[in-house]
Symmetry: C2
Subunit: 396 residues, 2 copies
């Protein structure tokens, strides 16, 4: 039994294809369903987006999806017309081997921007990957989509409909170029639930809002981010009522949030995992803006790296978030220590709080406003010297 | 003769007052005019702003300003009602010593957020600073406003009106928490030109737009940023026509841009000075958004730190700037090397470009769009391990 099993009717594989030069790492993953899937996707909103994003976006939502093919090591982004041709060719090779329509295959690429794909290698390897796909191949596939990730990222949930078990399982990659509205992360979520393409579209949009769209590592929105949901119905069970649907959405949200947190916990060079809870806003959007401004501030992120309870940086980031507010509306706690209340600094023992931040990898920032009832939860990482080192010499 | 002289009728001093604990550094600066000044200011737009910002903003523009008092080491921000009382008291002590109205003194503070000012030390030291002020005290004053700055920042221009010399001289500080709409920078610009308060207001607004509002170190907009312009008329000369006004605005712009570039060249931990020229946009605002997105990206900044010509990060930042565009609208050069043209990657020798970036402290990024005729010039720094080290342990 795999630690994280695939749902019924799905198989997966990860093999070495040679897109990543000078390494023995796996770099080609396939996810295959033995029957048609209802499928939907969410993609980067970056106007400069990868060719696979354009190709897959055009194909979704649909009721007859069969597979996803993903390479790591090359994002096939900023590659013009040739890039589109190559992305379509990747899917076409898959479709030929699976004996399905080309449009029923979805495609994604992650890695360096601005280089053409080595199509000879991909064309030769894709049929091998399909041949290698098994119901137990998820971990290999999760490995093959990694770039600077240091761990595989997997999540699963089960529930019962009509007394029968139904499963949803997701896999993703991502460790930098992570910003809301998706970043250089790729995610495939598979379920054997029987739902429609329109239900898949609604479900994944909602799940992404409170997961992949509430994380950032560096605020740089990538060109390639894609989340796919494939539902093949192999459980034979479909939702009969609102309660059934709530079970499904809850499982989907859970998988998406698990995977989002795994991305932030594996953030490049990070030494802290930071949860920012902003409460008491007039709207969710206001809470989101404040959380994002705090999460994106290099000064907040370096302070956390240094275990420095420099709360002024948090409060001042809230001040430029574009949300109408006064200092008196703001109170702040870090890891349970009250530091700022209704616009006034509170006395605290800096050495004690600093030690707490140093001893704990997890940091909780609670920004409590007095403007309304809406809130948001946001995850980010700190900014370390290791992040700079990892990103200062990536292509050369 | 000072390298950077004050205009006629101005004196300045910088002394040690003890706001910065445990150091012998100067931390109190005064700028005094021997007669009334037309004065205007531009301040941070952060809604969480320092008490001195609130106090000085209320007093400007005015026709009877006499002096500016600035302390370093403590920003007097997020300090509630007590902070306002303290900022007003700083000005009042100055005013008493100068025998002028309290409202004719402007005040600024820079340093750590969220601590109360040591008013006993300031009250005792301000009269000493006024007594120490001389026409040759500018360098001491420039030293006393420094926080993490490593060099003093000064600039001056002269021109002739009616055959008579007129001078404008500015001094500023700033090395981090630098973002457009002002950051933790403070600037005092003095001129012996004779202009009105309304002319001062218009002139400084225009000068700041293309200088201090076009720089960023880390995108964190501070609570304390203030630019003051004081015009005391001691040259006896005033602008008689548009050509005269153009001479003045040109000198003011020159001083403001000189000082802005000095801030970026002294950016915390920086190893490169980066100029971003965005051209061919429909509006200046569009060009500004693109330049800011590129400048704020940690991935662009770390790539430059590592002399990595990773142009995909630049192009992808343009893609999420919020400006409607297509990849085909974009071409990119770095230090004169064409890397990307009309949506397609160009072949280039990565080793040659990387060596060029490693050998030059100055980096020029040219993003050429085909949307219109508007452009913007923006300055930023790279992101280095030294920046992280400097900011990971600031307050504790």
């Amino acid at each position: 039994m795999d630690a994280v099993p695939l749902p019924k009717g799905f198989s997966a594989a990860g093999i070495k294809c040679g897109v990543k030069p000078g390494t023995d790492k796996q770099d080609l993953a396939v996810f295959v369903s033995d029957r048609d899937c209802a499928a939907a996707g969410v993609f980067t909103t970056n106007l400069v987006c990868g060719a696979p994003v354009k190709v897959s976006r055009d194909r979704l939502p649909r009721s007859t999806a069969r597979a996803v093919v993903i390479n790591a090591g090359n994002a096939n982004a900023c590659t013009g017309e040739q890039g589109i041709t190559d992305a379509k060719a990747m899917a076409a090779v898959m479709a030929t081997a699976l004996n399905c329509a080309a449009d029923d295959v979805l495609v994604a690429s992650t890695g360096v921007i601005g280089r053409f794909l080595p199509m000879d290698k991909l064309t030769a390897s894709i049929p091998q990957a399909i041949a290698a796909a098994t119901p137990h191949g998820l971990m290999d596939a999760a490995t093959a989509i990694m770039t600077t990730d240091t761990v595989q990222k997997l999540a699963t949930r089960t529930w019962e409909w009509n007394g029968q078990p139904v499963r949803i399982t997701g896999v993703c990659k991502g460790a930098a170029m992570i910003a809301p509205n998706m970043a250089t992360m790729l995610c495939t979520i598979m379920t054997d639930a029987q739902i429609t393409a329109e239900q898949a579209r609604k479900g994944i949009a909602l799940a992404v809002r409170d997961s992949f769209n509430c994380i950032s590592v560096d605020g740089h929105e990538s060109t390639s981010d894609s989340v796919f949901l494939l539902a093949n119905g192999a459980s034979g069970q479909s939702p009969q009522n609102d309660a059934d649907w709530a079970l499904f959405q809850g499982a989907l949200d859970g998988v998406a949030q698990d995977l989002s947190m795994q991305i932030i916990k594996d953030a490049e060079g990070a030494s802290h995992f930071v949860q920012i809870d902003v409460t008491g806003c007039r709207t969710r959007d206001e809470a989101f803006k404040i959380a994002k401004a705090v999460a994106d501030s290099p000064l907040v992120k370096t302070a956390i790296c240094g275990a420095d309870p420099n709360w002024g940086r948090v409060v001042s980031a809230a001040g430029y978030a574009g949300v109408p507010l006064k200092e008196e509306n703001i109170s702040l706690e870090m890891n349970g220590f009250p530091l700022y209340e209704a616009g006034r600094p509170l006395p605290f023992d800096a050495a004690v709080v600093s030690k707490n931040l140093r001893d704990n990898r997890d940091v909780l920032i609670e920004l409590k406003l007095t403007l309304g009832e809406q809130s948001v939860r946001y995850w980010t990482s700190d900014l370390t010297k290791a992040y700079v080192e990892l990103n200062a010499d990536y292509t050369t």
